[in-house]
């Protein structure tokens, strides 16, 4: 993977608005954002109701993902361009998710919704309709998904990157500062994890920093070892996974989607707290 394959800019998107093989997909943390205006022709994906299993904490299964994409009118050979709010947090999460189920050509709009809006580019409230397709997914590619036990085993042996804010990492707060702080899990981080906040990989306007800046940012990682990125629920770490795996082309980088809401609730695992 490389920047040229994984990332497109707003001009590229504007030039491909009428391309029938390019499907724009908006994924927001605030799922109502789409209704207030979206890029022309974009379909909406709801990360909470459509990507999570209806019961229990896991993703929708292969068959449910196939039904979802078929219903959205996405074909296996379509170029899927994801974008969203919050500096593409959930769009990056969806990107990782599309990769998990083996979609061929998927890209992220650099800067997402924010850059698009700050540029003053057009949004529409027109409804998007796409004909239903018959989508076929691959089995989950677990080479990019880390689970609990693997993460515990990685302590002291693999790179663990905690991409939350410094205050979440130190244990001062338990959730991003735009959310209420009451949570079931304990505060802190996984021992031996280094803290590289996801936000350092992005400019103020939400675009990714250059490859040179990203390499400098992640120089604390031992590239001879595998890497597991985590955050609170796995969406910010998708952003970092994207920077490491898709932009810099690092091999063996996994996203631990259980992240702190799982790890911080486990009984008997080591936790470090700095405050």
């Amino acid at each position: 993977m490389s920047r040229e394959n994984a990332l497109v800019d707003a001009d590229w998107v504007e030039a491909h608005l009428d391309d029938p093989k390019v499907v724009l997909v908006e994924v927001d943390e605030d799922v109502s954002a789409y209704d207030t205006g979206h890029i022309s022709g974009a379909v909406r994906l709801d990360w909470k109701t459509e990507l999570q299993a209806p019961v229990g904490r896991d993703f929708v299964n292969k068959q449910q993902f196939e039904e979802l994409l078929s219903q959205k009118g996405i074909s296996n050979d379509d170029t899927v361009v994801l974008y969203g709010g919050n500096n593409n947090w959930f769009a990056a999460y969806a990107y990782w998710y599309f990769k998990l189920y083996g979609h061929g050509d998927v890209k992220l709009l650099d800067g997402g919704r924010k850059k698009w809006e700050l540029d003053g580019r057009a949004l529409t409230t027109d409804e998007t309709s796409r004909e239903k397709t018959s989508y076929t997914a691959q089995g989950q590619d677990t080479s990019i998904r880390a689970f609990r036990d693997e993460t515990i085993a990685a302590i002291g042996s693999k790179n663990l990157v905690d991409v939350r804010s410094p205050d979440e990492f130190s244990g001062k707060i338990s959730a991003p500062a735009h959310l209420p702080q009451e949570q079931a899990q304990v505060n802190g981080h996984i021992p031996t994890a280094i803290n590289v906040p996801w936000s350092k990989a992005a400019n103020d306007d939400g675009t990714f920093r250059s490859d040179e800046e990203l390499r400098e940012l992640y120089k604390g990682l031992d590239t001879s070892k595998d890497t597991i990125a985590y955050c609170r629920i796995g969406e910010r770490s998708s952003h970092t996974w994207f920077a490491l795996h898709e932009l810099l082309g690092e091999k063996n980088v996994k996203n631990y989607d259980g992240s702190w809401t799982e790890y911080g609730s486990l009984v008997g695992v080591p936790v470090e707290k700095d405050v």
Partner: protein, 99 residues
Amino acid sequence: MCGAPAQELSLEGIDVGKESVVQGTVTKGGSPLPGAYVRLLDATGEFTAEVVTSATGNFRFFAAPGEWTLRTLAPGASVDTSVTAVQGEAVNATVEVPS
């Protein structure tokens, strides 16, 4: 889970005693500005959170006690505002974006 809170400034249902709330309104030419991006930076300038202002120009953060900077982005403008958060209180800020 991670859903952004409704950006109206009611604190109903939130135990304010535990929170250090930083909230306010972004205006342009004195009128509320919806759709502006407000970034919360900690005392070292480190990014902590970001929200989009509501239809009435409002924003809110659940911070920690201490010094913070609000960086407000709108097309063609970036404005920094210093605020001090206090536990158990909701600190209000008004940010005027240049026209």
